[in-house]
Assembly symmetry: C2
Homo-oligomer: 194 residues x 2
Amino acid sequence: MTIPFSFRLEAPDFIPSYYDTHIKRTLSAMQGQFLDQNAYDRMRAEDDTLLYEVYEIHRPEVPGELSHGISIVHPGRVGAEYAMTKGHFHRVLDTSEIYHCLKGHGFMVMESPEGEWAVEELSPGTVLYVLPCWAHRSVNVGAGEDLVTFFAYPGHAGHDYGTIEARGFRKLVLDRNGAPAIVDNPRWVKAASS
Amino acid sequence: MTIPFSFRLEAPDFIPSYYDTHIKRTLSAMQGQFLDQNAYDRMRAEDDTLLYEVYEIHRPEVPGELSHGISIVHPGRVGAEYAMTKGHFHRVLDTSEIYHCLKGHGFMVMESPEGEWAVEELSPGTVLYVLPCWAHRSVNVGAGEDLVTFFAYPGHAGHDYGTIEARGFRKLVLDRNGAPAIVDNPRWVKAASS
């Protein structure tokens, strides 16, 4: 694109009318990321369930651009843990990301490299600003409904999935008697430098 | 803010539940920007009409941050010309801006320093990407309804209003028998370098 462009986000599904890539993440892409490994293994043996999808408009990877798109986390649980995204830091750590929730009910689980954490609730109309340096993961706690967010981040940010894959997030969102609870992750590994 | 934060955008007015600044632009801030100076003078003699408002969440002016907020252009005309924002380039020219229209009906009028132009229509659900280097102005063509957009841009972008104040946009949006028409601006001054 060498001229400004626009596209549409329409209810009920909010799939962009234009995008460059469509990523689908299934259970097999999340090996080792859910707390209840037995529940994960049982589900995985039955089906490689689709957990979330990302439609992205890619822009050049420079600071003046904004990459953007739509994230759709489908409803579900693995054991007591709600469906969620892998979560990531940005490769260029001191870059932010902004989210606008369009549909559903969820939480953004975040943490800084120093081990600070924050969890913000998402419902239609919520704008969430993930500060530079904070890792972030979307969690869908809605009953039977997709969690849909529009996102934008600086073009040069990049993604670091490996740190979270290795250490996990400090906080998990689990079902407790039918309601979401934010609990400590017993397997969380604090960064050596923090 | 040293931790991630969220705020709400609620219908019908979409005023953010949290913001840092609230700018109000009235007719007097737009002296010389409308085509019909006589119509402007007549309106100005009666009242300094409120044309548009911007609620902004300011972030540090560095490339990893995203400043963001809500723009509300009220309905109206000055002569045949629809209510609009001043329009601007970014001070750091090669920075983009993203808009998500939440309410109303309008156009984004854009142009590059080389004199290329583009006009994109805005209605609820439209996402518009203003390429780096392109000036942009929101125009409300809706009958009696605000044009509301959510916007985000790189923290280091800054604003250059002076270039547009001096040269104008190449294209104007005028009412022609009750419908918007995109027409050449007879007073447009092409940049010397282009």
